[in-house]
Symmetry: C2
């Protein structure tokens, strides 16, 4: 078993902020980016956490693909909507601003929606949707991403894993926080199987001829991920439809890149990623207390219902992540030793050494 080194989130936060500030990012913006990155690690979404700091963000800054000043500007606006050009800045910074704009507009009118063009990888979708929670609003966050998923009956990766996040406050229960890629699995999951020399379940991906395969190499070399649902019999065209919905809202509505034209976050060229955000005031529909009581009842009804054979718990979306966040805040964030080694190497190139001492080794 590979070792894991545990670091307190606040020490990782200081490291991330120092690194970004060193690369010309204003302090307030560095704080936003660090908070989004650490939200992923705290919530157990390791794939979008500090593991991406260098490959997605500092490399982009060093290559001058990402503008450290994130000089985004509103290119179109109504009382309920805005379109923001991210000006190739950090995805997290423009997205934070965009969701704040949604919330401000929702305060004024009931609903706010913002589409963002010319952005970069924004981290976990749920971060922005969840910004609405403390305002007694429902938050929505979509992003498109580099092509990895083939349309049903196709064989070319033309759509991103395009996640959907929806966050809804409850009363005594934890909020509902959906944050799902519209593919079955992320590409990293295929790589895990490949490295382990294991076959993947048929339905996760297709080979270069477009046929569902159990061979991870075939998916990674000329194949593609399948959309949620997978094979025809299981209605993969629905997942394809969801991925397309996200791309229309993020890419087409904003004027960003879409489909196969979205850049990879490690590319030297502009990615022109697009995002879509919305905030809806609950009291624009019904009293907040009534709404929260019904949310609690719905959640409790689901959780207290009889379990399937062999199962002892039914989850609400976001529940596992809230629990992990509690644990990780108290005990620290466990990072794989190879991730720590990577951080040490990359941090030397950047010029801000990663010299934190782990609080524990697992």
């Amino acid at each position: 078993m590979a070792r894991k080194l545990v670091y307190m989130s606040e020490s990782l936060r200081i490291y991330i902020e120092k690194t970004l500030i060193h690369l010309g990012v204003p302090e307030a913006d560095a704080q936003i980016v660090a908070d989004v990155i650490l939200a992923a690690d705290l919530r157990g979404v390791d794939s979008h956490g500090i593991i991406r700091l260098h490959s997605y963000y500092t490399n982009g800054l060093l290559m001058k693909r990402i503008n450290p000043l994130s000089p985004s500007r509103i290119v179109h606006e109504t009382m309920t909507t805005a379109t923001i050009d991210g000006e190739a800045g950090l995805g997290q910074v423009v997205s934070y601003k965009a969701m704040q704009t949604c919330i401000e507009k929702a305060k004024q009118t009931g609903v706010g929606m913002v589409a963002v063009r010319n952005s970069n990888h924004y981290g976990i979708a749920a971060y922005y949707a969840m910004m609405a929670l403390q305002e007694n609003m429902i938050g929505i966050s979509f992003t498109n991403s580099q092509p990895l998923v083939a349309p049903t009956y196709g064989r070319t990766a033309l759509l991103g894993t395009n996640p959907i996040s929806v966050a809804v406050p409850a009363g005594t229960e934890k909020p509902y926080v959906l944050d799902m890629a519209t593919s079955i699995v992320p590409i990293g999951r295929i790589t895990v199987y490949q490295k382990a020399g294991k076959e993947i379940p048929v339905g996760w991906g297709i080979d270069p001829s477009g046929v569902p395969t159990s061979d991870p190499d075939a998916v990674l070399h000329g194949g593609a991920l399948m959309p949620l649902g997978g094979i025809d019999l299981m209605r993969g065209y629905k997942g394809y439809g969801l991925a397309l919905w996200v791309d229309i809202f993020c890419g087409v509505l904003s004027g960003a890149a879409f489909g196969p034209f979205v850049g990879h976050p490690t590319d030297p060229e502009k990615t022109n990623v697009g995002h879509y955000f919305a905030a809806m005031r609950i009291d624009a529909f019904r009293p907040v207390d009534d709404f929260k009581k019904d949310m609690d009842l719905l959640i409790q009804t689901l959780k207290n219902s009889p379990k399937a054979a062999g199962q002892d718990r039914i989850y609400i979306h976001g529940e596992k992540e809230f629990e992990l966040e509690e644990t990780h805040k108290t005990n620290g964030i466990p990072l794989m030793e190879e991730v720590v080694d990577m951080l040490k190497t990359s941090s030397k190139e950047v010029g801000v050494p990663f010299d934190l001492e782990p609080v524990a080794v697992l």
Copy 2:
């Protein structure tokens, strides 16, 4: 092979309208209901077409569960939102009004959203989403429905097949019209396999102990449908999350029933179904012409991409339905003979005989 009898949609329209008017529905409302029902048959969504006229609608009217006058009223309103009480009227009538309200609000502010409580089965979700298309708006339509789907790790049907519909205009290409149940298949699909004595694919449904099964009887008797994604390995919790999203927007946000409390459309008691609608003006984000050009490019990029082995066409959502609509408008709507027999029997009970002559027999 069972015979099919073909009827022109306009003659079916007159029959549906006469039937509803006979049961006390005002003429303008009867026209709306007939149009929604026939949109299903024209688009090839037979399960939501004239086959449901009596079981879902005229029976409800005869039992006094559905109020023929559909006296809906706005119970809460802001400049962008409204909550409408359907007052146990016809689902189609209040939904048509709700989507019109979304469109009016979007004209004024950019965005309109309406949640509906105390409604009934509203037919195909896409009908209302598509009302936005001619206005150069994006339309969204969700509805909850009677419990048929179990949450992941559960074994009780607690959520409806809760469909999601999103309609987006394009330029020279047909609009994108997603209209998908958030279960893998509808319950009727299980019945088809049961009647044919065939096993269902593992993943479509669970048996009464919550275990995925190939036995349609087990699903129909004490089991449940599985959400999109199906078994754990294929990420069925995502479909469960989508079904829950729809229920929150339709049931909780509106103050309607939700989860297992939603009534079945053939029940004698009030169903208290909830819906959610939204309209977004495209020019609230970017110029309509630019948007449509990009929609065309995205659609063409997908459709013109290489096909999987054995496939000769990649579809956009709604495309098959637009083609069927053309065909059915010209050649008539084919109805299974048993559906026609059912119409004849039920129509006698209602008092408006179904005495149309088919234009063809297949």
